[in-house]
Symmetry: C2
Subunit: 252 residues, 2 copies
Amino acid sequence: MTANKTAAILIIGNEILSGRTQDINVKFIATRLAAIGHKLEEVRVVPDIPERIIRAVNELRAAYDNLFTTGGIGPTHDDITSECIAAAFGVPWEKHQPTWDAMEKHLGAENFNEARQRMATLPRGAVPIPTAMTIAPGFSIGNVHVMAGVPRIMQSMFTGLEPSLGQGTPIAMRAVHGIGVKEGSIAAGLSAIQNRYPMLDLGSYPFYRETGGGVAIVAKGTDETALDAAITEAESLIASQDITAIKGEPPV
Amino acid sequence: MTANKTAAILIIGNEILSGRTQDINVKFIATRLAAIGHKLEEVRVVPDIPERIIRAVNELRAAYDNLFTTGGIGPTHDDITSECIAAAFGVPWEKHQPTWDAMEKHLGAENFNEARQRMATLPRGAVPIPTAMTIAPGFSIGNVHVMAGVPRIMQSMFTGLEPSLGQGTPIAMRAVHGIGVKEGSIAAGLSAIQNRYPMLDLGSYPFYRETGGGVAIVAKGTDETALDAAITEAESLIASQDITAIKGEPPV
């Protein structure tokens, strides 16, 4: 088994930066990447400005094994991702004949207007991402995977893409929590557990509920035996505070 | 009135990158910044790794007028934001006496352990952010504002910070939507409206609901007269499709 590949997400979207839209794509992609053993290491959100998109694409595709973009692939004037990807790769942005033909047939020639023709225009070398949900494709070029911003279309595209990404060692998570635990009281003990399991990422996350708050301890990693052992130690740490340790994440 | 200031957000959080946690801080900060006339231009999410945090802090504080960070200021081993900010600024990370004294008094000397003392250790020159919600402060240093990751604490800190940020021209939004509108059919008309109002950002956002889908047209900018005029034109554009234009965003 080779080492897990790294990944980044680039969200192209004024609507996220303006506060209009709550992004939920990161959580979906992050969860799926963990399940197939890819390590998400960075997320960026940039506005719909060509030079900003191009620079971010080039920085992120150079820094990580895979880059996933969301947003900006529709037919309107603010959908400029595809041209920007072509510019980032330094390749022509040109008619993608199979997509062009499929869209023209699907929509009828009379509806296949200039705006929709732009969606059949891709960077040279782009390979459409298979999805049943829309005739206008996302696409992959090199290590960059260009997806829609609308969550249910993005999810369908990611599912189409997944088999080609390759399987690493799944990154699993275990959690335990305790009501009334104070982070400051368990910090030293938790740090000691982290030191005994350097192959894991141990996180401590306070939570607040109407019924009371506490702390969740979350362990993450590819070594299931170590995960079980570390979480057992975290349970003992919570118990040492005279608090009942409850397996799993706190209820929402 | 001077030009609106620019801003970026840096989320320091393995829990976002692992898919464990749904970020909602960006939407809150973005909305509040728009209201006070600051322009959010970039968001990054990086893992709890010192060199990654330090590099991102230095890139973003150089590129924008203000940088807001969330996450990593608690007492546990994975809370390393404060040290990293000191390193990014090249200043000592040292006891902040007023915070130290206040925490020791509040907690009692017997509970003011090493982990909690770390929270009273700040980069030299840091100014605590006033908040009633926690005795352990976020802080500002230069143009960087360091806040908690837990949403309700972050929100309290941002509210404490807001008066010191300065008021620009509020960035307002207007929306109109139509059920059954197709983006590809209105793209040319929308592009023409955008060209007539270059001072605005016009966005087109498809939506899907169980009861049917459509498109929302959103205009954003500081010129309220132009916003009203552009949205009136967008209403006519929707009406030209024999579809009723409905003011505002589509229902959730």
